[in-house]
């Protein structure tokens, strides 16, 4: 287990550092100037956010299907959603930092931005539900249903915000400037995708282990408490 983590962590670190170095070394373009360098991290962050919610959805379904039901899937779903919320927030933050000099505003009500913001809140709600204490199996089933409900709404949100921004004023912005970018930018972006995927996998693995350990501590605590009560009862009987 530790070897996997070290290998994954090492690969994530190396690819991330390479992405940062190469990304910062990208030449400025005429339209976007220095800010084109965001291409190395912003789209990869967004990809990792979508990936994490996809993993949460699949793990939740696997938990609900009786044949594959295992506590492991619940832990993976929770770990992935937590990391996903961080990536979504980072996507919005890096997008804003890029948007301010490029569009002149921190935020525009573009379809994709709105969808990402909605997703952030959907999964914040999911995480809040997960934190409610209770029987682990009940909690796991409740969380799995909530995750599927949250994921169900994403395609509807997608159409809603798409129409919202196109029916009324036409697609206001295109956020894919890749058309007129040469291969260097694309190569660094692809490297960024790899790096963020590895970072996502490593972080999720760490969170997954913590969830497993928390579960174990919970079970152990219960066993200890039971043993103590039994000892007390035994001692009480001896005195009498």
């Amino acid at each position: 287990m530790n070897a996997t983590s070290r290998l994954l962590g090492g690969a994530a670190l190396i690819s991330l550092v390479t992405t940062v170095v190469l990304g910062l070394g990208l030449p400025p373009t005429v339209e976007q100037g220095q800010y084109v360098k965001f291409i190395a991290i912003h789209p990869p962050l967004a990809w990792a956010a979508y990936l994490s919610f996809g993993v949460t959805a699949v793990a939740s379904i696997l938990y609900l299907v009786p044949r594959t039901r295992h506590r492991r899937w619940d832990h993976i779903a929770g770990a992935s959603a937590e990391v996903g919320v961080v990536f979504t927030a980072l996507t919005l933050v890096t997008g804003s930092i890029w948007g301010r000099p490029t569009w002149g505003v921190w935020w525009v009500w573009d379809a994709r931005l709105t969808l990402t913001a909605l997703m952030l809140f959907l999964f914040l709600g999911y995480l809040a539900l997960r934190r409610v204490a209770g029987d682990p199996d009940t909690r796991a089933r409740r969380s799995a249903v909530a995750a599927i409900l949250a994921v169900l709404v994403v395609p509807i949100d997608h159409f809603a915000v798409q129409w919202w921004r196109t029916l009324h004023q036409g697609q206001s912005l295109t956020m894919t400037p890749q058309k007129n970018l040469d291969g260097n930018y694309i190569a660094v972006m692809l490297l960024g995708f790899l790096a963020m995927t590895l970072v996502y996998a490593w972080l999720t693995l760490q969170r997954y282990w913590v969830e497993e350990l928390e579960d174990e501590v919970g079970d152990q605590g219960l066993q200890n408490a039971l043993a103590e009560r039994r000892a007390e009862a035994g001692a009480g009987a001896g005195v009498r």
């Binding site: 539900l129 409740r142 599927i148 129409w163």
Partner: protein
Amino acid sequence: MLRDAALVAGKDLRIEARSRVASNQVAPFAVLVLLLFAFALDPDRGVLARTAPGLFWVAVLFSGLLAVQRSFSLESADNARDGLRLSGLDPAGIFLGKAGAIVVQMLALEVILAGFVTLMYGRHLHGPAILIITCVAATAGMAASGTLYGVLAAGLRVRETLLPLLLLPVVAPVLLAATRASESALDGAGSEAWPWVRLLGVFAVIYVTFGILAFGPLLEEA
């Protein structure tokens, strides 16, 4: 299933008719929200009339949240939820019944609020057919998703604070679609409203289907 649904809906509506919580608390709250919008947005510059559809649906959404919470707090008193579980009623029927009762209450509320918007915001109602279809589809979607999240959060100690966080992002597309559909109808551009109405329909169908399938297991755990 439908007979069970009618039984449950009848029970909920009878409770509301006798306790008058919906008519004496939820409805005045919704009107109050519309009144507060007038203070927040300058009523003299036509902002209210222009944004009337959006404000209307925000008020409906907030009162819908109260209706959902009310619908499940009814079941928490005297362990009524255990009674419901043991009653032998089809869980899908219970889901449809509870959602149906919420739909009836909210539709009544929407009539009151529409009257308020016409009178106080100075927005005249056009395209009644589209408006009615929009109201029915949007309300069905809200009630179905609300009932699902209601039972999900029922029995939790933090349900009052958790339910809005869970439900509001999910019904965000309903707010968006219902607002655009009513706006198009009021502007006399009925053809623009149909894609939104269809979206509302899809939302309602998805959540009603999911509710019929998932309500039983969720009720067992609540």
